[in-house]
Amino acid sequence: MITARYWREMPQRYRYEAGKCVKCGYVAFPPRLICPVCKAREFQTVTLANTGKIETFTVIRVAPSDFEDEVPYAMAVIKLDDGVQVTAQVVDVDLDELKIGDRVRIEFRRISQDGEAGVIFYGYKFVPA
């Protein structure tokens, strides 16, 4: 990830800020410029709920190069308590015990880094609630 893009995405990666369509109420995460439902362009910034439950998940055993050291790890679709769905890693959990419907909460974690000398990218992951 390039540094400028990471910097632009900090509000959503760090503070879980989403865009709520002022016209129809659709919540876009990550935020969008145009509402996919009603095509309106005006959004209000809202913060996502920090807890939710696992809708579905998979265990990654062959990972992209930035995540090779973390295998095996779980990637899940999580339905937050405000109804928004996000895809993220679930960590601090025994993968044999992880199941659909488990309650999870958001935590601030390292996501990856631009090599040993580059910028460290932070963001959200989920842990058992």
Binding site: Y14, S65, E70, R109, I120, Y122, K125
Partner: protein, 352 residues
């Protein structure tokens, strides 16, 4: 009145049994280490955790305990540690951005071996008392480094504690402070070195014990108090034994240090050590209780604080997870191999 508004510690769920796992690998006498250090287990950061991630979690919970204090009201953020992820770029910038405290905030990272956290507390208290800022956030924490096979490897752990200082909504009023500093080279890390060096037994009498007792005695004198005037006491905890011994030297009882004595199951969280102990004490303290705190940082120095708990404490204690509850919540134990991988002690080939 100025002091702590709320505080929060961030202990980690991953652990290792140092005497069994580490001594086994290096051929050391496990029983002797266990007896000598009084350490049963220690915390380990996951590969995706570092000082910044722990600080963000601790700060968010501290804000929750402050009754949802608007982060924009924080006028300063200071983080004390010796494991800042960047050599150049303050950890506080990331933490301030993550908790929504930017951009009108003063930010700096502190370093003073294991007392960098209490330094941050000391300075934020000063800013608040001088009325330069309304609230200030002080964080002490570390993902401590110890070289493979070195005595430090048995104790180095990870954790952080966050404290919001202010003049309103105070849960623990600051009554007295004292700082004691000398040039004592007991422990150090040179530029670009990955692991610290230390003077072995020299870290004891002329370093830890001299500085902690001198700071503590000066604090007794300043405040005209004696150990019996305090419900709780907390000291820097490089292992389980040192704080126990120093408390006896000063005249405190085991009962007074028990609540904040986290080292036997947490290990040495360096700059997070005495601050996390204070956090554990504030989880159970009652209005009117006095708390005696002395940190220690190699190099060397100690910061001393006398806190008096206010009526408001009972309103905030259950607003976020408590320190000992977090420590006891589903710990997961690692073997040495996994620990070495997580702590990046295994050298891998460069990618081409």
């Amino acid at each position: 009145m100025s002091g702590l508004v709320p505080c929060q510690a961030c202990p980690l769920p991953l652990r290792i049994y140092p005497s069994e796992e580490i001594a086994k690998i290096w051929g050391a006498d496990a029983e002797s280490f266990k007896r000598g250090l009084l350490l049963r287990e220690k915390s380990v950061p996951a590969p995706d955790q570092d000082l910044i991630t722990m600080s963000v979690e601790a700060a968010r919970h501290a804000l929750k305990r402050a009754g949802g204090l608007d982060p924009k009201e924080l006028g300063a953020i200071y983080i004390g540690a010796e494991s800042h992820p960047y050599a150049v770029k303050p950890s506080g910038t990331v933490v301030a951005e993550a908790i929504g405290a930017t951009p009108d905030i003063h930010c700096a990272d502190y370093e003073f071996a294991c007392k960098a956290g209490s330094e941050a507390m000391f300075v934020t208290l000063g800013l608040v008392q001088a009325d330069y800022v309304k609230y200030a956030l002080a964080i002490g924490g570390d993902t401590s480094q110890g070289a493979p096979g070195d005595a430090l490897e048995y104790s180095t752990a990870a954790g952080a504690a966050a404290f919001i200082m202010g003049r309103e909504h105070v849960v623990a009023e600051i009554e007295h402070t004292h700082s004691y500093t000398t040039d004592t080279p007991d422990f150090w890390r040179r530029d670009l070195q990955h692991y610290p060096q230390h003077g072995g037994r020299f870290t004891g009498e002329p370093a830890y014990f001299k500085h902690v007792t001198s700071c503590a005695r000066a604090l007794f004198e300043k405040s005209s108090t004696k150990p019996g005037d305090f419900k709780y006491a907390v000291f820097h905890q490089p292992n389980g034994k040192f704080p126990q011994r120093v408390s006896r030297m000063l005249g405190f009882t085991q009962k007074q240090i028990d609540q904040g004595w986290l080292a036997p199951t947490l290990g040495n969280t360096y700059s997070g050590s005495s601050p996390m102990g204070l956090s554990a004490i504030l989880d159970v303290a009652r209005p009117g209780d006095r708390i005696f705190m002395v940190s220690y940082g190699s190099g060397a120095g100690s910061d001393g604080f006398i806190w008096k708990v206010t009526e408001r404490i009972v309103e905030v204690q259950n607003l976020a997870p408590q320190t000992r509850q977090q420590l006891e919540h589903k710990p997961r134990y690692l073997d040495y191999g996994t620990y070495a991988k997580f702590r990046r002690k295994i050298r891998k080939a460069e990618k081409v």
